[in-house]
């Protein structure tokens, strides 16, 4: 391992842990305003969606809105499976299966 690699790791560890720990560290000393507390419940699905949508519609960094896009087909089928079954494993399994069937057999 080179010196530059070591510095990169040290920097990344400080940054990633710092972000995750900062609010926890002061958890008992801060109080959130009521509207802020209300807004917290929107965070998880909003962040996850903001990561997912571009990954599906621009899988390789370029727009691909058609049924030739295996990522889009997999996402739509896993979404349907998830809404119908409400089962996480089925949702993921359906998405993976749809992707590979579409990519290698369609």
């Amino acid at each position: 391992m080179s010196g530059a690699e070591a510095w990169m790791l040290v920097g990344m560890v400080i940054v990633t842990f710092g972000i995750r720990y900062f609010l926890f560290a002061v958890a008992d000393r801060i109080r959130l305003a009521p509207w802020l507390e209300l807004s917290l419940k929107f965070i998880p699905p909003a962040v996850l969606t903001a990561i997912t949508v571009p990954a599906v519609l621009l899988p390789n960094g370029e727009w691909q809105v058609s049924f030739a896009n295996s990522y889009l087909v997999a996402a739509l089928l896993s979404l349907a499976a998830g809404i119908v079954t409400r089962n996480l494993l089925v949702t993921i399994g359906m998405g993976l299966a749809a992707f590979f069937v579409h990519r290698y057999f369609v």
């Binding site: 990169m8 995750r20 609010l23 917290l40 699905p45 909003a46 993976l96």
Partner: protein, 242 residues
């Protein structure tokens, strides 16, 4: 924090059990990380240490990509910061549930905070029962994610030296389909649906922003629209009542 040991153990095991499907989702992601790292010019030791100590999938991917492009260390660290800003939103969400815990617990749970563990655990915390050891649930989920990640990253590194084009197999599809499975249980009310649709649209409008900053901006757009929808619905309900 002295609760009956059996209760702690029960929460811990439930956390592991509820995280099992997500381990499947992380599997290909870990393999690809290892495979890319193996060909990026990053040393084996640094690649393993990154998984063990940084433990943040998307940052690891981007870091390895930047290493391959011979980017200066300062830029890599800055990019990591921006890509992981969303974790601060997660810790804000968990704040009310963890503020009674001793610091050593907060340190552990912070270190192991991921998209997956967060999504699973927040449902547990929000359930109305007054179990005093829900943090054990998060610990179970965290450790399951951690060990799973280390294992597949390592295997990916070993295989990566042999199968150089693993990147082109499309294994990265695991991330969006796993996230879709994680999003669905949150969408139970109209305001959350509005929030999700807005965040999705915003993520496409902010693509041009550098360093994936668009994710954070889109999250804020989603939160704002959700709050607005909530307010409108509450006002209507109030008007009906009068």
């Amino acid at each position: 924090m002295n609760h009956p040991e059996s209760l702690n153990k029960h929460e811990f095991l439930s956390g592991i059990r509820d995280t099992l499907p997500l381990l499947l989702g992380a599997l290909p992601f870990g393999l690809i990380y290892g495979a890319i790292a193996a060909t990026s010019g990053l040393s084996m030791t640094a690649a393993i240490l990154m998984s063990a100590l940084v433990f943040a999938g998307s940052s690891q991917f981007i870091a390895v990509g930047l290493v391959a492009a011979q980017t200066p260390v300062a830029i890599i660290v800055l990019t990591t910061l921006i890509v992981n800003l969303r974790h601060m939103l997660y810790s804000a969400t968990l704040l009310p549930y963890l503020k009674e815990l001793p610091q050593r617990w907060r340190i552990m749970l912070a270190f192991w905070l991921t998209d997956e563990t967060f999504a699973v655990t927040v449902h547990r915390f929000q359930r109305s029962d007054s179990s005093p050891c829900k943090h054990w649930y998060q610990l179970g989920s965290s450790i399951a994610m951690y060990l799973n990640w280390q294992f597949w990253c390592f295997l990916g590194l070993v295989l990566g030296h042999r199968i150089p084009d693993a990147q082109s197999w499309g294994l990265d599809v695991a991330m969006p389909v796993t996230f879709i499975g994680m999003i669905i249980p949150f969408v139970k009310t109209i305001p959350v649906l509005v929030s999700v649709l807005t965040a999705g649209a915003a993520s496409l409008l902010t693509l041009a922003m550098p360093y994936k900053l668009g994710i954070v901006v889109s999250a804020f757009a989603g939160i704002a629209s959700g709050l607005l929808a909530q307010r409108i619905i509450d006002a209507r309900r109030e008007a009906h009542r009068q």
